[in-house]
């Protein structure tokens, strides 16, 4: 009759152990993949990231990186590429290079020159305004100024050559002309108002 006692105790112990074990496993699992620890499926996150270097937020670092083209072929600058295209490995490498050069005490211009020496002029987001590149910067401005100056000169010359008298004037084309105006104004006042309205609606 006493035989069931150990079995019952064993069963209770087993049950408690199972509950505790499950809870422990759950806690462990939560620590691994839940609120406290890692992500459940890291494979869907793409590249693992490195902790941000505090120097990355310095204005001079951003200023240099905004002027350097990422050489992966993405057409973006280094700063934009490394903070947007998180699959690129080139721009983070270039970023580390920029930080290293600052670490060596180089100025912004010296860093840009170092990159040009290494990668060629293509590494700059805008070509240096010298030599043939100067044409890129000044041709639109020169073209607009020249044409504008020429236009102004032609118009001014025409005015001095041709007398203004006899040239046709514009007719008012405001649809208001057919509207009946208020009668509380004198005819002269109405005429003046009509002209003003024509002017603003012309």
């Amino acid at each position: 009759m006493r035989a069931p006692e150990p079995r019952r105790r064993a069963f209770l112990l087993g049950a408690v152990g199972a509950v505790l074990g499950t809870a422990g496993a759950a806690a462990s699992a939560a620590q691994q993949g839940g609120a406290l620890g890692g992500v459940r499926d890291p494979s869907v996150l793409g590249q693992a990231r490195q902790p941000t270097d505090p120097r990355s937020n310095e204005g001079r670092v951003k200023a240099v990186e905004l002027r350097l083209a990422c050489s992966c072929g993405c057409t973006l600058d280094v700063f934009t590429c490394r903070t947007t295209d998180f699959t690129c490995t080139t721009s983070p490498a270039m970023h580390r290079e920029v930080l290293a050069l600052f670490e060596q005490g180089k100025s912004e211009q010296e860093i840009l020159d170092a990159f040009v020496a290494k990668h060629g002029e293509k590494v700059l987001m805008a070509p240096k305004p010298e030599g043939f590149n100067l044409a890129g910067y000044v041709v639109p401005g020169i073209a607009i100024t020249t044409v504008g100056g020429l236009l102004a000169w032609v118009i001014a010359r025409r005015r001095t050559l041709a007398p203004a008298a006899g040239t046709p004037a514009l007719a008012p084309d405001g649809a208001d002309a057919v509207e009946v105006p208020s009668s509380r104004h004198s005819p002269e006042e109405l005429e003046r108002l009509r002209r003003a309205l024509t002017e603003v609606e012309d």
Binding site: V44, G46, A169, P181
Partner: protein, 687 residues
């Protein structure tokens, strides 16, 4: 379905070539029997193109992965909205979409154009049909959307995650509608040149078409900026990318045309210039297509490189040579009716406005092509990016903004010094006040200060124009101010709608200037850690990393990184940025496979003052330690608001009726010459 699609494309090609030949020759030889047929034929071309598009859509919706295009751009688990938009997601499908819309516009041009211009319509049918035939030809010989694979995959590759955004459904169609509808004004211009009917008739016939095209292009460009901002995650909306530039070029020349056409209508001037602008706008739209589809210039937006670029280059060259030769042969008939009399006239202001718009277009084109030019001349590759374009174009843009305020202040023909003084006082005062406010608040960015000052000046001009009009109406007709305003706008929708468009541009410019003050911070945070970002408006954002969560949703696994936001210590909600790994799933969950690299969804907390823009870069060592980029972008909301105002202004301008300028220029003797009425201001004591 592919057989039906192929058959429809061949039918469209045959019809396009036939209608093109018959339309042009029939109208040229005065054969009414031919022209009567030709003006109805665009409907048949539309039907053929529509059948082809429906056949491809049927293949897409029915997951017929034996069609190479369907397998390349869709998958079984792609949501229906994106399945529909897959028609224009790739090179081949978008060419078909282009052909359908072009044939639709070709048919609409025949149905909606007034019979007053019936003599132009056969030519128009000829030109639009040739354009459709060209696009169908490109498809049939270089990029056939109905190409089949040698086998049938179980599932497709899926749509690029960055295209799985509502922007994909609305932005490309809007941009295409803008690009494509330019063909109709171009066709009318060619019709005018071929027929020799070079009065202002063709201008009136295309006014609404040009506005429609300009409006769609404006909407398309603005939606493109919005899409780039919310989807690409770099924190801005305009990067001077070649493809972005390609959309801006025709917009600029079309804007120039919409201004200069007023001078032709009112003064009979600039006839040659207007034809050059319309032809140039069409050519720029083809040039943009060439850039986007040829891969000749590196761009993040380009389609896959293919040989279709050569087709477009050929079409561009042939169109340019034929159009400008035709224009040259008609040159003597395009003499101006009157001459520009003074630099201080509204005509001159419009002319300089045109010069700047076309100059900016040239500058953008020059910058876009400069790498090719440089490589040809120097043999070395260079990069021409945003710093170059900002340096060259921002000063020109600011000048244009200033001129936008100057134009309406100057009288037609010749402004007197009294007129200038009276007109300029209030806007200049507003501009100077804004300048003082900028300097007093410590603003030192030169471009931003100039933009805001010129913006103030232009706003002063627009308000003054409305104020004077309303005031004059109130006095003349005893109307209340709201009624006077409504009637003023209703009676001259074109002018006041134009001012509303200027308000939209003004809002754009101020918002662009605001971006000069954006802030960016990067941080790596464990759950519970926080970063502080100072806003340019003076307050402090505190963002506390809450943690990461992962879940499956539709066709992707989402990893969401959440930050608790506080503004100056006060809780202001949560902000989440996501990493999304899309997958295709031919069988059950166990067989799913990832497609493309993980993409990023930004979190945006938008307000009238600024946007808080959160980008989750990834996790450190597979833990919940997250790497973030945080931007504070001032005045971005106003960019979208500017777009809405601009579209509203465009709609007012093109709303039927009420436009007073659509008639031919009327003139009265010089005795009745209209001068500004200083008496009104002096007598009534108004400002």
């Amino acid at each position: 379905m592919t057989l039906l699609g192929q058959f429809a494309l061949w039918t469209a090609l045959l019809l396009g070539v036939t209608v093109g030949a018959l339309g042009l020759s029939g109208a040229w030889r005065g054969r009414p029997d031919l022209t009567a047929v030709v003006t109805r034929a665009p409907a048949a071309i539309l039907l053929a193109c529509a059948v082809a598009a429906l056949a491809l859509w049927r293949g897409i919706i029915g997951h017929d992965f034996n069609i190479e295009y369907v397998a390349a751009y869709t998958s079984r688990n792609l949501p229906t909205g994106f399945l529909v938009s897959a028609l224009w997601a790739g090179q081949k499908g978008s060419l078909l979409f282009w052909a359908v819309v072009l044939s639709l516009f070709g048919a609409l041009a025949q149905w909606l154009t007034s019979r007053r211009y019936a003599d132009l319509l056969p030519y128009v049918a000829g030109v639009t049909s040739i354009a459709v035939a060209f696009f169908v030809c490109v498809m049939l010989f270089a990029a056939n959307p109905f190409d089949r694979l040698a086998f049938t995959p179980a599932d497709g590759r899926g749509l690029n995650p960055q295209l799985q955004n509502i922007g994909m459904i609305v932005h490309p169609p809007m941009l295409y509608l803008g690009y494509i509808s330019i063909t109709v004004p171009f066709a009318f211009a060619i019709a005018a040149l071929l027929s020799g009917r070079l009065d202002t008739g063709w201008i009136h016939a295309i006014r609404k078409w040009t506005l429609v095209s300009w409006l769609f292009l404006s909407i398309g460009i603005t939606l493109g900026m919005w899409w780039a901002y919310v989807e690409l995650g770099w924190g801005g909306y305009w990067a001077w990318d070649p493809v972005e530039n390609a959309s801006l070029l025709p917009w600029l020349t079309m804007t120039a045309f919409l201004h200069s056409v007023m001078i032709q209508e009112k003064r009979g001037m600039l006839k040659r210039w207007n034809l050059m602008l319309i032809v140039g706008t069409f050519l720029l739209s083809i040039f943009g297509t060439f850039i986007t589809r040829s891969g000749v210039i590196a761009s993040v937006h380009s389609f896959t490189q293919s040989n279709v670029g050569w087709f477009f280059l050929g079409f561009l060259i042939v169109s340019a040579v034929l159009s400008y030769t035709l224009l040259y042969t008609r040159w003597p008939k395009l003499e101006a009716d009157t001459r520009l009399e003074s630099v201080l006239s509204r005509e001159a202001a419009f002319l300089f406005n045109n010069l700047l718009l076309v100059g900016i277009a040239f500058s953008v084109l020059w910058g876009t092509l400069f790498p090719i030019l440089s490589e040809a001349v120097k043999g070395t590759k260079i990069t021409v990016g945003p710093p170059f374009f900002n340096r060259v174009n921002v000063p020109l843009g600011l000048l244009l903004l200033g001129l936008t305020g100057v134009g309406p202040l100057i009288a037609w023909r010749h402004a007197s010094s009294a007129n200038l003084k009276r007109q300029f006082v209030a806007p200049t005062a507003v501009g100077l006040l804004v300048l003082a406010a900028c300097l007093a608040t410590g603003m030192r960015d030169l471009y931003a200060v100039v933009a805001l000052t010129f913006g103030g000046f232009t706003a002063g001009t627009i308000v003054q124009e409305f104020w004077r009009g309303v005031r004059a109406r109130m006095r003349m007709h005893d109307e209340a101010a709201p009624l006077a305003l409504a009637r003023l706008m209703g009676r001259n929708r074109r002018r006041y709608g134009g001012y509303v468009v200027h308000v939209g541009i003004l809002i754009y410019c101020v918002a662009f200037a605001g971006m000069a003050f954006h802030r960016t911070e990067e941080a790596t945070l464990k759950p519970g850690e926080a970063i502080e970002v100072r806003s340019p408006f003076g307050h402090t954002y505190t963002l506390t990393h809450v943690g990461l969560s992962q879940y499956d949703e539709l066709n992707r696994t989402v990893t969401a990184a959440t930050m608790a936001v506080a503004v100056d210590g006060r809780p202001a909600g949560m902000l989440t940025s996501e990493k999304r790994q899309h997958f295709v799933q031919p069988g059950d969950v166990s067989t799913r496979r990832p497609t493309f690299e993980p993409s990023t969804e930004v979190g945006i907390r938008s307000s009238l003052r600024e946007d808080l823009y959160l980008v989750f870069a990834g996790a450190v060592d597979d833990t919940e330690t997250a790497v973030y980029r945080v931007n504070v972008n001032p005045l971005v909301w106003w960019v979208w608001a500017g777009g809405v105002v601009l579209v509203l202004g465009g709609l007012i301008t093109m709303w039927p009726g009420g436009g007073a300028l659509v008639t031919a220029p009327r003139r009265v003797p010089v005795a009745a010459r209209v001068e500004p009425a200083p008496q009104l201001v002096g007598a009534e004591g108004a400002p």
